[in-house]
């Protein structure tokens, strides 16, 4: 009886060619994955993060006074720290003190005090590994800049923004 099929040599050659092709794909994929790992999580593509940053930016731009960063607010409930920013702002014709509180992971709180009335706005949908830190930054003749940085769970910096109060006249 005659049985047709592959010879061992045919099979080996075919599999070797296909194996080389698969190996190329795996190598390429691994290289891509390794390269992607170098990049931080793109927090800026998150709508809640963008909302928080744009609102914070506006508050800093509207900062008002010789030193617009009081040491505390809310009868001492909040104090300036790397997780809490307190700003005196000039908004809508009036002065108000704004507190930005990043102490709770995955949340950003904005509490504004205007003529004794506190108004709170909370962004609850931030990424859980969004770790924000606030720092002071100084440029020549302008000592009151704010720098907000955020790193992802692996400590890679994803956000680094310097905000400067605008000149009020």
């Amino acid at each position: 009886m005659r049985r047709n099929g592959f010879t061992l040599l045919e099979l080996v050659i075919t599999m070797a060619v296909f194996g080389i092709f698969l190996m190329m794909l795996v190598t390429l994929s691994n290289e891509m994955r390794g390269q992607e790992k170098r990049y931080p999580v793109n927090f800026m593509s998150h709508p809640q993060v963008l909302t928080v940053l744009s609102r914070l930016r506006r508050d800093v731009l509207d900062a008002f006074g010789a030193n617009p960063y009081p040491p505390s607010a809310g009868n001492g409930k909040y104090t300036q720290s790397s997780k809490t920013l307190i700003i005196d702002t000039f908004v809508g014709g009036g002065l108000q003190t704004v507190v930005w509180d990043f102490t709770t992971p995955g949340e950003a709180r904005r509490i504004s005090y205007n003529v004794g009335v506190a108004t709170e706005w909370v962004a609850r949908g931030l990424p859980p590994d969004f770790d924000a830190n606030i720092d002071a930054v100084e440029t020549p003749g302008h000592p009151y800049g704010v720098r907000i940085m955020a790193v992802d769970a692996k400590g890679r910096r994803s956000i680094d923004q310097v905000l400067q109060p605008r000149v009020h006249q």
Binding site: M1, R2, R3, N4, G5, F6, E10, T14, V17, F18, F21, L25, L28, S29, M32, Q35, E36, R38, Y39, P40, N42, M44, S45, T139, P140, G141, H142, G145, R156, R157, S158, I159, D160, Q161, V162, L163, Q164, V167
Partner: protein
């Protein structure tokens, strides 16, 4: 007894060719998607650095706004994109006005992000 036949080598190679085309196409789509996502991330990182440098260039004394090959702000955000090159170009079309263009180039100069501001000499107030 009935004859038992398998595939010929040509049939096998043809099947593998079809499989190769399918895998390659799928992977190409995946690679392109990843590349575009990475480019978007890079652009966002680059423009954060550009905006930070713009904040500085807006505030330094008017006379200190000069061309430079380096930024004065922290470039740590661009760590994953290294090597990057930067430049600050300053041109003036009329007295008391400077056009400042900040540029970041990366991916061997194939990609770049630019941000321009106009500085006006306000006599020391650093308004713009």
């Amino acid at each position: 007894m009935r004859s038992q036949r398998g595939f010929s080598l040509v049939e096998l190679l043809f099947a593998l060719l079809v499989l190769t085309i399918v895998i390659t196409t799928t992977l190409a789509v995946f690679v392109e998607r990843t590349r575009r996502l990475r480019q978007a991330s890079e652009t966002i990182l680059a423009y954060q650095v550009l905006a930070n440098e713009a904040e500085l260039q807006r505030r330094i004394p008017f006379a200190a706004v000069v061309p430079s090959a380096t930024f004065n702000t922290d470039m740590g955000l661009l760590g994953a994109m290294q090597p990057v090159t930067t430049s600050i170009d300053v041109s003036s079309t009329q007295g008391g006005v400077k056009n400042v263009t900040m540029t970041i180039r990366w991916n061997r100069g194939q990609r770049e992000a630019k941000l321009g501001i106009v500085r006006v000499d306000t006599g020391g107030g650093n308004l713009w």
